[in-house]
């Protein structure tokens, strides 16, 4: 007779589709975002294959434009934004603070359904012929010129935004109200702090993008004259509104990954974080300053020079909290007991790629330099280093770290190390050449390009093929572990934290007895006690 866990407590489709258990909802998200990731990845492969040669030969120009648009829309709104919060955050936040569930379990399930509904709109738009506006939906192209399914896709983004808002709201209330006795704010795991900061952005920023895409839909159908200069509108207004959300949205993607990295670095160095409060407050600083930097997307759009100056200054300022985090993670490894298990390899990958991604952001904040690299492949490389190199490495690292807890099974560690290496190599080969192509002047969103850029594009496409393999391998060994994986101990890594004190996989109620917390997380040095290792 197997022990009762959240996985075997209820069978059949209905027990999953009507569940109020945050852990099961996390798995619903895991399956659905993986599906969207595969779809978005296929669009990316087509884009990269087209760019193998300078002439537009594989796809028609219109098809190519739809491919990069759908790649962006799917990856940003249906994979990256929900990825870590909706899967790992959902699963772990209640456990990490010693609670039995999120504050609003029904709303949690509702957010998944809203996400799926939004996703359906976007897939319908794709199947009906797609959208060709770019994921940025810039006006007046999106409102006056594009003939594709802009409204359907915009509604998809609009709807899924509510899922994000509800998740953020749920996290904030949970973190405020549901902490176990003794779990003070400064004992919270840093993963929780980073999700708190993320949730603030979700509830404050998402309504703005929701209204903005609604304005695009309204302008297309009713010709209100919001963005159309012929009707007295201002096309650049859209860019202000869009980036007011979409720049902070980058922090929605990266902050949770930073939270994951803080956990992994502590667990695999067996050492508490260096400068806890600096790491915790830097998340909040990023969330707050991140709202004030959107104008750096408009340096060449004819924005006032003085506005440009302020946005440039603030963009440099937002780099500092990220730098603080990187230095603190590095210092945490100092005098640790470092083991290079697969989650740590992913975390090291994150540190390398995020550092490059963050530092190349400085090039774009430098006004005189942004003029040249704006809208070139330099920008494409930069944000992929952050969103793929940073956010996805963090997500995969977290998935590897907590997989034994989530599934109760061990995956193949050698294969996991191999995939971490493949992802790192493939990623750099894909995106580093794009910095060079970008500085040479290759504009983004080009279906055909001058032949002198080809060598960098061939390298990039080659890298993308390697990267794709790197992403496929984990799907296989995670899947295999469910069937034939060795059973995991409660604390397979010898890590500290409430999630490692409960069974793997956890019971539905997480804790049979509400824990009483007496210290912060990842305290490894205990004079009176030997360190238990499973």
């Amino acid at each position: 007779m197997a022990t009762l866990t959240y996985l075997n407590n209820g069978h059949g489709l209905a027990s999953w589709l009507l569940t109020k258990d945050h852990k099961r909802i996390a798995l619903l998200y895991l399956v659905s975002i993986t599906a969207f990731f595969v779809v978005g990845g296929l669009f990316a492969m087509l884009v990269r294959l087209e760019l193998l040669t300078p002439t537009g030969d594989l796809l028609a120009a219109e098809t190519y434009n739809k491919m990069f648009t759908m790649h962006g829309v799917v990856m940003v709104f249906f994979f990256l934004i929900p990825s870590i919060p909706a899967v790992l955050g959902n699963f772990l936040i209640p456990i990490m603070i010693g609670a039995k569930d999120l504050a609003f379990p029904r709303i949690n399930l509702l957010s998944w359904y809203i996400y799926i509904l939004g996703g359906m709109f976007t897939l319908v738009a794709a199947l009906n012929g797609g959208v060709d506006t770019g994921w940025t939906f810039y006006t007046p192209y999106s409102t006056a010129a594009a003939n594709s399914h802009v409204i359907t896709a915009a509604l998809g983004v609009f709807i899924t935004g509510f899922s994000s808002i509800l998740t953020g709201l749920n996290f904030i209330v949970t973190i405020h109200r549901m902490r176990a006795p003794g779990m003070t704010w400064f004992r919270l795991p840093l993963f929780v702090w980073s999700h708190y900061a993320t949730s603030l952005i979700m509830i404050l920023g998402t309504p703005v993008v929701a209204i903005t895409v609604l304005m695009v839909a309204a302008e297309r159908t009713l010709h209100l004259g919001l963005f159309d200069p012929a009707l007295g509108g201002d096309p650049v207004l859209f860019q202000h509104l869009f980036w007011f959300y979409s720049h902070p949205a980058v922090y929605i993607m990266i902050l949770p990954a930073m939270g994951v990295i803080s956990e992994i670095v502590q667990a695999f160095a067996r050492k508490n974080i260096f400068g806890y409060s600096f790491v915790a407050f830097s998340s909040l600083a990023i969330a707050v300053i991140g709202f004030l930097v959107w104008g750096h997307h408009l340096f060449v759009a004819g924005q006032s020079v003085y506005a440009g100056l302020i946005f440039s200054f603030l963009s440099f300022l937002v780099a500092i909290p990220s730098a603080i985090k990187v230095f603190n993670w590095t210092a945490t490894i100092y005098k640790g007991s470092v083991s290079l298990d697969s989650p740590m390899l992913y975390a090291f990958g994150f540190l390398g790629l995020f550092t490059i991604g963050g530092l190349t952001g400085l090039f774009l904040a430098t006004m005189g330099l942004d003029i040249h690299v704006h809208d070139t492949y330099f920008v494409v490389a930069h944000f992929h280093y952050i969103m793929v190199g940073g956010a996805i490495m963090g997500y995969l690292g977290g998935l590897h770290y907590w997989w034994p807890k989530i599934s109760g099974k061990r995956y193949s560690e050698p294969w996991a190390k191999f995939s971490a290496l493949i992802v790192f190599v493939g990623f750099n080969l894909t995106f580093f050449p794009q910095f060079v192509a970008g500085y040479l002047g290759m504009p983004r969103r080009y279906h055909a390009y001058p032949p002198e850029f080809q060598v960098w594009n061939v390298a990039s496409t080659l890298g993308a093929s390697i990267l794709a393999v790197g992403y496929l391998i984990p799907i296989i060994y995670f899947g295999y572990s469910l069937v034939a994986g060795e059973k995991s101990a409660n604390d397979p890594w010898g890590a500290r934290g409430l999630e490692w004190e409960i069974p793997s996989p956890p019971p539905t109620e997480n804790f049979t007895v509400t824990p009483v917390v007496t210290e912060g997380t990842h305290q490894y040095v205990r004079p009176t006690q030997e360190v238990g290792v499973a």
């Binding site: 010129a145 096309p235 550092t355 090039f363 005189g368 969103r445």
Partner: protein, 320 residues
């Protein structure tokens, strides 16, 4: 397989060196910090590798001094980037007085260009080296962006307003012109060339062009053809404001506000005359939206500007 292995773009304008200097500074700083962090992580991971499964790390909680150090040093460095980048931006942004003016209209998916003497080009722009060139750019449809990588300059071209881009070519040659803002199906076909020529060759090229009338002359003809001159007469007694010496000056409006009479104001007053009514005049002017093309608007503006040329050259604030 690849004989062409470019690593760095050509430098063909006075701006290119300035931009590249900042770029090299940033590359040096970022390479230094990337390598520093990577070496520290690798060194720590090796030195402090776990030797025994029961081993734990030392209990170190932090250091205020270190936190200050690694906040303040990066802040100082990025402030250098900020100031230097802003300085280059200001230089790139402000065209020198006396620059050669060229009108550019972007439309899906071509660049239409007209020189001050009337020469027209499509997807090609001939310029002399050693002389500042100022482009006044508008769009007929969606947002485009005029980008010359070899010159390190770029500016969006936005419907309903005029953006300015200036450069001074240094080396004769043919350079890429790209549309950098996604503008629809044939976005990647909205490309062309910038041909920088020795001044003498440029004069010869101008002379060999089709005998088309200058934008000012075309604007003057339109001004009569559209009967603008029936209201905008050369005295203050017309039904519309006098246009002589208007451009670049301040205009008092009926609602008490003042505006600078720049390209955007003139354009708006033609396509949407009711938006800003000059104090002392009636809102009687009909709209010319749809009756004049973007190029004709630029010609009308050139004509209105020419009525101020003599007295206020150089003072005219070019809109952005």
């Amino acid at each position: 397989m690849f004989t062409n292995f470019p690593f760095f773009p050509q430098q063909a304008s006075v701006q290119a060196g300035q931009v590249d200097a900042v770029y090299f500074f940033l590359v040096a700083v970022t390479a230094f910090f990337s390598l520093l962090i990577a070496s520290l992580i690798v060194a720590f991971a090796i030195k402090y590798r776990r030797r025994d499964d029961s081993e734990v790390g030392a209990a170190i909680h932090g250091s205020l001094a270190l936190e200050m150090l690694w906040s303040i040093i990066p802040l100082g460095i990025v402030m250098v980037m900020f100031v230097w980048g802003a300085k280059v931006f200001f230089d790139l942004y402000r065209p020198p007085a006396g620059a050669m003016e060229v009108f550019v209209v972007g439309k899906q998916w071509m660049w239409k260009i007209q020189h001050a003497d009337g020469n027209r080009e499509i997807n090609e722009l001939h310029v002399p080296v050693g002389r500042p060139v100022k482009l006044i750019m508008g769009s007929e449809d969606v947002i485009h962006s005029f980008f010359i990588p070899a010159f390190r300059v770029k500016a969006d071209v936005i419907p309903g307003r005029y953006n300015v881009l200036w450069f001074e070519a240094t080396t004769p040659g043919t350079y890429h012109l790209f549309c950098a803002e996604y503008c629809g199906t044939k976005h990647s076909g909205m490309v062309g060339s910038i041909v920088a020529m020795e001044p003498a060759d440029f004069q010869a090229w101008l002379g060999g062009g089709g005998a088309s009338e200058s934008p000012v002359a075309a604007g003057q003809r339109l001004f009569t053809d559209l009967a603008c001159n029936t209201c905008h007469i050369e005295t203050q007694q017309g039904r519309g404001p006098m246009l002589t010496n208007l451009f670049g000056g301040k205009v008092l409006l009926q609602n008490g506000a003042t505006v600078v009479a720049d390209e955007v104001y003139i354009r708006e007053s033609i396509v949407n005359p009711q938006a800003k009514i000059v104090a002392g005049f009636q809102p009687i002017m009909p709209t010319f939206q749809g009756l004049v093309t973007e190029e004709q608007l630029l010609q009308l503006i050139a004509y209105v500007r020419s009525l101020t040329r003599a007295s206020r050259e150089g003072a005219a604030g070019t809109s952005q």
